[in-house]
Symmetry: C2
Subunit: 502 residues, 2 copies
């Protein structure tokens, strides 16, 4: 077999696999939005059968054989060609899939499914002891998994690499290291500038259908193509890229608080814009895919925060919001802008503001690294959590539900995932700064309802590049420097300083 034939087989296999993955995505979307109450057990089996099939395809021995034929051939001579990118990532996936023994993969999937169910009940009943044994089993399995995947002494590296390819624990620690003092310093200045601004303009009576229509209008305005998407309701908002022409988001509205649904919709629309602008000619291969969770999150955070909480954006959107919601009729622009930029440490990550959000992530990262190193036992997690909450946020949780039991991730075996949230924030600010350096002040265009200057820059520099670069390299290629927390701190300082006069 020639390298060309081997590459052809690998590409066809990748695309066919991607169609099956995208079929599973339709099943997942339907499960969270449309499925009738009694349809759950059958759906779980459907998904399990597809997962089994996908595992068989991912570990097909022919992938290994054909990769050997194509690696080192002229096909992959140019490291940034689609062929070289695809071969690089197929190798990475194949090695990962085959390094984990099937019994371990099965046991992890089974325990994680159980973990999620146990966690749901334990959180509801504020019952840590019920959750502890299954989490201890998950942690032990993750240690096994990290060792099977391989690492250079730091187990966490192996898990992190699942979500943020090519980024190490040392790199994250360096990025996050400067962030903590910068954020707590900024928090002090914000608090020193006076009483926390009222969120009250966002609290009140916001009819659900008006919120839905407004989200649709704003989503379309910033570039989410609704002829190639849908907005539905679900308990946990998400974006799902089924394929070219079909990228759906979900959201959740609260009648008494505009902020949740509005910024949730902007966040998911940001994810969806990324998926919609991936290069469809490369669909089904790594070259056409988003390179990491952190990069994906950079786009959702960019539209949610750097655009969606900016003065320029609201000069465009506030008149529309007033037309949509009677309760905004007497709210002045400045009060509204302060409300969407309210800052106040709080116990629950998903309700945190833009500044304090990252403090939640920083301490989860430290706990996860310690767990994987064996320096922290699962049994000691609740106390460690409370201590970090005091140290980072100055708060004390009255219960486990708003403490160590608040997040689903660990119960589902997702360790190494949390840092990608903060990486997303950092990338977003760095990308935005680079976009402004290239395209001029963007807020002025937002104020006119023009988002093309930003969209075009992002499409050229991020979206169209798909999976060409690993995330750190993509930031370097796009911004001329590796990831750096400075841009995020500068952005926050400038905005909150302007809003509060420091």
């Amino acid at each position: 077999m020639t390298p060309e034939q081997a590459y052809g087989w690998l590409k066809a296999h990748s695309i066919e696999t991607s169609y099956l993955v995208s079929a599973a995505e339709v099943l997942a979307w339907d499960q969270r939005t449309m499925i009738p109450p009694k349809g759950g057990p059958h759906r779980a089996e459907q998904i399990a059968v597809l997962a089994k099939l996908l595992h068989e395809r991912a570990t097909d021995k022919r992938i290994g054989d054909y990769l050997v034929i194509v690696e080192g051939s002229p096909i992959v001579a140019d490291a940034l060609s689609p062929e070289a990118v695809n071969v690089r990532e197929w190798r990475r996936s194949y090695d990962k899939s085959t390094r984990i023994p099937t019994p371990l993969a099965v046991e992890l999937a089974r325990t994680a499914a159980e973990g999620e169910t146990v966690w749901e009940g334990a959180r509801r009943d504020d019952d840590w002891p019920r959750f502890e044994p299954v989490l201890a089993r998950i942690a032990a399995l993750l240690v096994e998994k990290a060792d099977a995947l391989g690492h250079g002494g730091e187990r966490y590296d192996a898990l992190l690499d699942e979500y943020e390819a090519g980024t190490t624990t040392v790199e994250i620690a360096a990025l996050f290291g400067g962030l903590r003092p910068a954020l707590t310093g900024l928090l002090d200045r914000i608090r020193g500038a006076g009483a926390s601004p009222a969120r009250s303009p966002l609290v009140g009576g916001f009819p659900l259908d008006a919120q839905e229509a407004f989200s649709r209008e704003i989503g379309a305005a910033i570039g989410y193509d609704l002829a190639a998407g849908r907005i539905d309701l679900s308990a946990h908002p998400f974006t799902i890229g089924i394929g070219p022409g079909d990228v759906r988001i979900t959201t959740r509205f609260q009648e008494d608080f505009l902020g949740a649904g509005l910024f949730g919709s902007l966040h998911e629309a940001g994810h969806a814009i990324y998926e919609q602008r991936l290069p469809s000619a490369h669909w089904g291969t790594p070259r056409g895919q988003v390179p990491s969770l952190g990069m994906h999150e950079s786009q959702s955070r960019l539209w949610e925060n750097l655009v969606g909480r900016s003065a320029g954006f609201w000069r465009f959107a506030f008149p529309k919001a007033r037309a949509a919601f009677r309760s905004l009729a007497r709210v002045p622009f400045d009060a509204f802008l302060l409300a969407v930029n309210a800052v106040e440490p709080s116990l629950v990550r998903v309700e945190a503001d833009e500044v304090t959000y990252n403090l939640h992530i920083l301490f989860r990262f430290e706990l996860e690294v310690d767990l994987l190193r064996g320096d922290l036992r699962v049994a000691d997690l609740p106390e460690a959590w409370d201590e970090k909450t005091r140290a980072y946020l100055g708060l004390r949780a009255p219960d486990r539900r708003s403490g160590v039991l608040q997040d689903v991730h660990w119960s589902a075996g997702l360790v190494g995932y949390f840092p990608t949230y903060t990486l997303g924030n950092l990338y977003a600010a760095q990308l935005f700064a680079a976009a402004e350096a290239a395209a001029g002040p963007l807020e002025e265009s937002f104020a006119r309802g023009e988002f093309e200057p930003l969209l075009d820059w992002l499409e050229r520099n991020v979206h169209a590049r798909g999976g060409t670069y690993r995330p750190r390299d993509l930031i370097r290629a796009t911004c001329g420097a590796p990831p750096d927390a400075r841009h995020f701190v500068d952005y926050l300082t400038a905005k909150h300083g302007a809003l509060r006069g420091f």
Copy 2:
């Protein structure tokens, strides 16, 4: 390998395949109800990849090898045991799948997809010459397919068997033979009894949301479990059995005519009730499946017509309809009942009433048999169609759109499918008569809103039996005699005689 092991492998293979089929069903449902406008091309590819995978599974050589091991073994000694039923049907499917050469299957699928697209445009533009060439190609491919499947001289048998396993052209001809004079005779008596009753009580202003709520109420009342289903809107109503706990229907409402959405919903609910009451322990194997299209149609027609157009049913439902629709406020019960039982020959099959509907099917059956025998050329179809329309319905179509171009079936390669509609009507009447013989007069229970007597009888005698029997044998087992058109004629004569006093 022992027969037990071979059977175990075949069963596991069947169930896993069924999960993939049911994943494809979710894709199909979504495609017709939820997909965004630009999502079509990607969905077509997704479905094609699944179809390819399913074809590979259906023709897996191991099926043939293992069937040989299990056939003739003690496992299949009792012909009505789940094991024997499954082996019987796996053999039938495997032989069918492997007899058709892959190039022919691919060419048929491709031409049928093209045919549907061409037909849509040709019907819209009333342009038979545009459709004729692709239909001629489809007809030639179907001749090839019938010969590949094998038959005893009557090609149509091979195609019919795809939709109504084990039923022959001769049997259909015999069943339909007596039906034509009986139906035209009944039609004469109905017309002799006076002017056609006005459909006017069903025509007027029926708000769409009230129709939707009413359909939901009536569907639930007759036994469609909405916690294990959904009702959505689609251009062409259909039922889809995704699996146990998830059987969905769609419908279409017209604001100016209550009949379309109401009886359409009852029809689909009938299909759904059947799917919901299949024996879930046998899901994924032939034993747990509906044995034929005709049997499926028997259940939709039974609920739509034998229940849904009966006086007893409306004694229960009319007060609810009046509460739901203001425009029924002054309509007397008798006028409403006559309106839902209006009879008048018309040109378009899907708009036909219960009596004349079958005349449409009878002549399509004759045309199809002649086409397959080579006694009729595709080029001569339009004239043959018009002649049959005059002979059977006494009507003359002003255009091709309401003539030979009206149905999608042939364009999609579905020849041998039409007879199952009339078989469904005949089975429905025969089953209903048997149910009344066993359970007493059912209309009295309908009038009290009680449908359990009928549901229970159907579940025991039809639904729970799944695919144990081929359709003719199921009628024999359930009604004590083979399919017979007499019950259908008796039912129509008795109802319309009572309504119109003859």
